[in-house]
C-alpha cells in the first residue's frame, strides 16, 4: 500500500511532510491541494520528515494537507511518438494542455495512446533475450524505432511469440516472453525508466573517435567534436550562444536531436517551434522537426522542474541510443540547472560551496556528462549521445564554479568571446582559447586519415599556430599603438 503523509512545513517550493511509513530518496509524491495534485520529489529524509521539492507553485498550500507517495522515482515514459513532441521538464506533452496559460497540477500523457504504428518483428520465437534486446521495430517519422525488452527486466528470457507485422497501438502486446521461472511476461511498446539513473544496457563504452559534422567551420576544422563526445559553450550574454546552438542542432549529422531549453527565454523555444517544421534536414531531406524533440522548461517555469528537465532529456537520449542511433543532445543552459540546484540547496540550509552553489556541484555535473558517450550494444551495433551544453557565466567571468566544474569533464571547449561578438564577428568562438581533446586521440587521427586524409590534422595544427602567432603580433602592435591591429 502506498505511503501517505501530512504537510508539516512550507518554505516556497520546499515542503516538509510527516510520513506514516517508508519512503525512498527521490520518490515522487503528490500533495493534494483542493482539486489539484502537486507533484513533488523527496530530496531529504530526517526521521519521519520527508523534505520534498514541489514542481509547482505552492501558493495557498496549508499545513495538514494530505500527501500521497507514488512508490516510484521521477521517471519518463518511453515508446514511439517521442519525436517532434514539445515536452516540459517532466515530460508532459505541452500541446495536449488546454488554454494559453499553464495550469497548476496539470499532467499530460507524453505519448499518443490511439495512434497505430507499423510494426515489424525482429526477434523470433525461441530466441533468448534480455533487457534492451530488440524485439521489433516501428517507423517513427521515418526513423527505425526499436521496440525493446524493457530496461527494468532482469535476467534472461525466452521469446515465446512476437506479433506479426501489422498495425498496433503502443498499449497492444507485441511480444510474449518466458522468464527463467517459466512465467509468461507480456511486452507492449511502452516502458518507464527513472531519469536520474543512467540506462547502461550496452556491452562497452569505448573512447569515441568518429567526427560528428556540425557544419560550423570553427568547430569541425579547428576544434572538432565526435560522435559520443562532450562539449560546452560558455559565453557572456549577447555572444551568440543560442544562435550557435540552434545552428548546430539544425545542421549536425545526427539521427535525432534533443534540445533541452533549460531555464532560458521562451521566445527562443518559439523560434524552434516556428522554424523547425519549415526547415529541411540537410542529411535526409526530411523536415528538421521530424528528428527533433524539445524539452522546454523556460525560465518562468517552476525551478524544481528545471532541474529535472536535463535528466529527462538525457534519459530520452539514452533510450534512442539503445536503438543504435546517433543522438545529439543540446542543453541551454546548464548554468540555469546549476542555479536550480543552488536554490534548493539554500532552502535545505546545506553548507554552501563557492558562490553558494552546493558542495557537490562538480560531482553532479561530472556524473551528468558521463552519461553521454559512444557505446557498443549487446547485439554488436553502435549508438552515441553527443552532448553539448551551454554555460552562462555570471558577469562573463570564466572562473566561476559552473564553468570550472564543466571544464574538468567536457572534452571540447568552445569559448565565446565578448570582443568578437561586439565587432559582429560570428561565430564569436575564440580559436586559441578553445580546444578539442579529441584532436589528441590516436583513434580520432586514424579515423580522420581515412575519412579525409592523413595530412588533415597536421594542417589544422599549422593553421592554429599561425593564428596564435598572428594574435601575438597583434598584441605587440596594440602596445605600440597601431590602431588597425587587434583585428584577429
Amino acid at each position: 500500500m502506498a505511503t501517505t503523509g501530512k504537510v508539516k512545513g512550507i518554505i516556497a517550493n520546499l515542503v516538509i511532510v510527516e510520513v506514516e511509513a517508508a519512503v525512498s530518496q527521490n520518490e515522487i509524491c503528490f500533495i493534494i491541494l483542493d482539486e489539484v495534485r502537486l507533484m513533488a520529489e523527496v530530496i531529504k529524509v530526517i526521521g519521519k520528515d520527508a523534505y520534498v521539492q514541489v514542481f509547482e507553485s505552492t501558493r495557498g498550500l496549508k499545513i495538514g494537507s494530505t500527501v500521497e507517495f507514488a512508490g516510484h522515482l521521477l521517471e519518463v515514459t518511453l515508446g514511439p511518438g517521442i519525436l517532434s513532441k514539445n515536452y516540459d521538464g517532466l515530460q508532459n506533452d505541452l500541446d495536449k494542455m488546454d488554454g494559453v496559460f499553464l495550469k497548476r497540477g496539470e499532467y499530460t500523457f507524453p505519448l499518443d495512446e490511439d495512434k497505430l504504428w507499423d510494426f515489424k518483428p525482429i526477434a523470433k520465437a525461441g530466441e533468448t533475450v534480455e533487457a534492451a534486446s530488440w524485439l521489433g521495430e516501428v517507423d517513427e517519422n521515418f526513423q527505425p524505432h526499436k521496440i525493446m525488452v524493457p530496461f527494468v527486466f532482469e535476467g534472461s528470457y525466452t521469446v515465446k511469440s512476437v506479433a506479426e507485422a501489422g498495425q498496433y497501438k503502443i498499449t497492444d502486446t507485441i511480444a510474449v516472453l518466458v522468464d527463467e521461472k517459466g512465467n509468461d511476461v507480456e511486452v507492449n511498446m511502452i516502458q518507464k525508466w527513472p531519469v536520474k539513473k543512467a540506462i547502461t544496457h550496452y556491452k562497452n563504452k569505448p573512447r569515441p573517435f568518429k567526427l560528428l559534422e556540425t557544419g560550423v567551420r570553427t568547430i569541425d576544422t579547428i576544434n572538432p567534436i565526435v560522435e559520443g563526445g562532450t562539449g560546452f559553450i560558455p559565453g557572456p550574454f549577447g555572444t551568440g550562444k543560442t544562435v550557435l546552438q540552434h545552428g548546430i542542432s539544425k545542421q549536425a549529422e545526427a539521427d535525432i536531436v534533443i534540445i533541452a531549453a533549460c531555464g532560458e527565454r521562451a521566445n527562443e523555444v518559439v523560434e524552434i517551434f516556428t522554424e523547425f517544421p519549415e526547415l529541411v534536414d540537410p542529411h535526409t531531406g526530411r523536415k528538421l522537426i521530424e528528428r527533433t524533440t524539445i524539452i522546454a522548461n523556460t525560465s518562468n517555469m517552476p525551478v524544481a522542474a528545471r532541474e529535472a528537465s536535463v535528466y529527462t532529456a538525457m534519459t530520452l537520449a539514452e533510450y534512442y541510443r539503445a536503438m543504435g542511433l546517433k543522438i545529439l543532445l543540446m542543453a541551454d543552459s546548464t548554468s540555469r540547472w546549476a542555479q536550480a540546484l543552488r536554490e534548493m540547496s539554500n532552502r535545505l540550509e546545506e553548507l554552501p560551496g563557492p558562490d553558494a552553489f552546493p558542495m557537490d556541484l562538480s560531482a553532479i555535473i561530472a556524473n551528468f556528462y558521463a552519461r553521454a558517450g559512444y557505446v557498443e550494444l549487446n547485439n554488436g551495433k553502435t549508438g552515441s549521445i553527443t552532448f553539448i551544453g551551454t554555460v552562462s557565466p555570471a558577469g562573463g567571468n570564466l572562473k566561476e564554479p559552473v564553468t570550472e566544474s564543466t571544464k574538468k569533464v567536457a572534452r571540447c571547449f568552445f569559448a565565446l568571446q565578448q570582443s568578437r561578438a561586439d565587432s559582429k564577428r560570428y561565430p564569436a568562438i575564440n580559436p586559441i582559447d578553445s580546444y578539442s581533446k579529441y584532436l589528441e586521440y590516436p583513434e580520432f587521427a586514424e579515423y580522420i586519415s581515412e575519412r579525409i586524409n592523413d595530412q588533415w590534422i597536421p594542417k589544422v595544427n599549422r593553421l592554429k599556430t599561425m593564428l596564435q602567432r598572428g594574435l601575438e603580433v597583434s598584441e605587440q602592435i596594440n602596445i605600440l599603438g597601431d590602431s588597425s591591429a587587434g583585428c584577429l
Partner: protein
C-alpha cells in the same frame, strides 16, 4: 608582420561564418577540406611586395574573394569563378624566391 595578415586571412576565410546565410550557415566537411587546403596554400606562398603599404590592400582583396567563395554554392559556377579570380590574384603578387 606577415602573421597578422595571414591570421586575418584565416579568420575571414575559415572562422567567420554567417549563420543567417542560406549557403554559408552549413559547411560540409568536404567543403571545409577544400577551403583549408586553399588557405594553407596561400599561407605557404612567397610574396614579393614593393612596400608595406601594398600588403594590406592586397590581402583585403584576397579575403574578399574567399568570402565570396564561402557564400557561393560549393563547386557552383560562381564558386569556380571566384576561385579563378583568386588564382589570378595570387599569380599577380607571387614571384619566384629571390635573394
Amino acid at each position: 608582420m606577415g602573421w597578422r595578415f595571414l591570421s586575418k586571412l584565416i579568420f575571414w576565410g575559415i572562422l567567420q561564418q554567417d549563420a543567417f546565410d542560406k549557403v554559408d550557415c552549413a559547411s560540409p566537411i568536404e567543403r571545409q577540406e577544400y577551403m583549408l587546403n586553399i588557405v594553407i596554400d596561400i599561407c605557404d606562398k612567397e610574396y614579393n611586395f614593393s612596400g608595406f603599404a601594398e600588403v594590406g590592400p592586397y590581402f583585403k582583396k584576397v579575403i574578399n574573394v574567399l568570402k565570396q567563395m564561402n557564400y557561393a554554392l560549393f563547386k557552383s559556377d560562381d564558386f569556380f569563378k571566384e576561385e579563378k579570380e583568386l588564382e589570378k590574384l595570387l599569380a599577380e603578387s607571387q614571384v619566384a624566391v629571390e635573394a
